[in-house]
Amino acid sequence: MLTHPDELRVRIWRGDAGGGEMAAYRAPRLPNQTVLDVVTWIQRHQAPDLSYRFSCRVGMCGSCAMTVNGAPRWTCRTHVKEVARNRRDGQLELAPLRNLPVVKDLVCDMADFFRKWRQAEGRFRGGRGRFDAVSAVTAADPHRAAADAAIECINCAVCYAACDVVAWNPGYLGPAALNRAWTLVNDARDTAQSRRLRAIADAGGGCQHCHSQHHCAQYCPVQLSPAHSIAGLKRRVGRAVLRGEL
């Protein structure tokens, strides 16, 4: 099939939980267009029943992630010319994120992903009320610095889709939930540390299952390194085992 130089050939996975297949579309090739722009154009002009998610379009909300030419990416801030280069034919292939059940077309069911955040005790549990003094945490505190390095997660599940251990062990908590737990392990104000320690060392899916191959860090669109956070959790779990706390 010949393609006009101003035309982009796009293949999009269409289907639902029961199965599906790639469907071919064509879209205009424009300067500086993002992958999300292309999906939106196709939905508006060719496939009104195409399902996909997005919200902010500026890399804040984390809802637009898809598999783009084989790799998980945030589509609102991925330029077509950046990714199409990776393929010999310069075209686009879009599929839902890996490791999550498909709802329809490019939309995944995120329930498992967020259930694991709760399972990893990813919720802050403070002990002070509004009439208590504010905890003094300085920016120079090393624990604060460790939490800072991991805190800017936008919950996009790109790392979760990139992680082979999630694919092999469905119980594994995954890089995002463990990265979140690491920020709280370093939070001096949190009062649920022993509960959290048991959660992150869970025999079915705790941090010790990570292979440290850094796919999560390679693909995280906001350049976090969940692998680095998980290494910190492993040290924490190691100390607890040696002290007989686990």
């Binding site: 251990v165 694919a167 092999w168 062990n169 469905p170 119980g171 060392a201 025999a203 079915g204 899916g205 705790g206 010790q208 299952h209 492993k234 779990v237 190691g238 607890a240 085992v241 040696l242 686990l246």
Partner: protein, 111 residues
Amino acid sequence: MLSPRLFIAQRVTALLLAPFVLGHLAGIICAVHGGLDAAEILARTRGNPWLAAFYQLFVVLAAFHAAIGVRVICAEFSRGRLREIHLDIIATGVGLTLLCMGGFAVVAVVV
């Protein structure tokens, strides 16, 4: 699938195995450079209690380390389909096999 204790057991055995591997390699290189043949090597190893202790400990550590590693590999390859009890049986089998094979090898070289 991998309890925190098994995880630490594997890390600790890995740490302890490193000097054993280096010692073993150094021994082989010395023997080869010395131009010793099998009979001459055996003449030096037979009846040496230090060597027996070194290799027996090496075997025990390797058996534990490998058994835990194979347990994880089986769990991941089966994508969670193998149950804990199956994994335990496989790991125990691997560990005992290595322990026996290693033990026989130590006896053959030292006794």
